[in-house]
Point group: C2
Chain length 135, copies 2
Amino acid sequence: MPFTLHPRLEADSIFVGQLRLCQLRLINDSRYPWLLLVPAHPDLVEITDLEPEDYQQLWEEVRLVSKGLQSWCQPDKLNVATLGNLVPQLHLHVIARFKTDATWPGPVWGQGEAVAYTEKELDSLVAELRELFFQ
Amino acid sequence: MPFTLHPRLEADSIFVGQLRLCQLRLINDSRYPWLLLVPAHPDLVEITDLEPEDYQQLWEEVRLVSKGLQSWCQPDKLNVATLGNLVPQLHLHVIARFKTDATWPGPVWGQGEAVAYTEKELDSLVAELRELFFQ
């Protein structure tokens, strides 16, 4: 069975690039630099569903993305999480948080409404992220 | 410098046992089976502060605890997260979520008030968790 991205993740985020295991995506919410890692395997729900090698690879990609975000925007804190209460397909959030952001110090999920980027902002941001992670 | 647990984590959770890297603790909130992993090293804030070997060990312990919780209480979903917006000391949440729990499908943080276990409940729960993870 081929990998198909959950429609909710497809709608809420933009493809940045394909890492060895995961799709790297940008959540379309300009309130936070918010990245998503989605292991490109069908039928994964929990991190415990991953084979040991993929499990390790997942966290290596989380580390890569975390370090990239830190060097890119110097957040006050990283928030790293996998919840999946609404969208069962396994996905990991890596979010750069700032003491000045919309919901600090609370979590970002289910707080207020996403503020979409403009098309121009998105183009430039995705280009920057591709340079950061894929060059 | 020796490792000292942050007073907020100390107040909110109970020691279950020491894994190779992390203290395993139970959050004193009977609304959820909610475990905490705290790497027993001073001065860690972000997962990226961990040396590669400890980083890998952390996620191995997350896997162990996740699988343990799954076999112990068959949750509808695991929520695994490191936020640290309020308590900077690096700590990981592994929470067994149920569709019937107090804040499903929302995240657990900052939602309502913790409902402490009775002393009797705590004793029996900690004993059960020690058997699950340390025997």
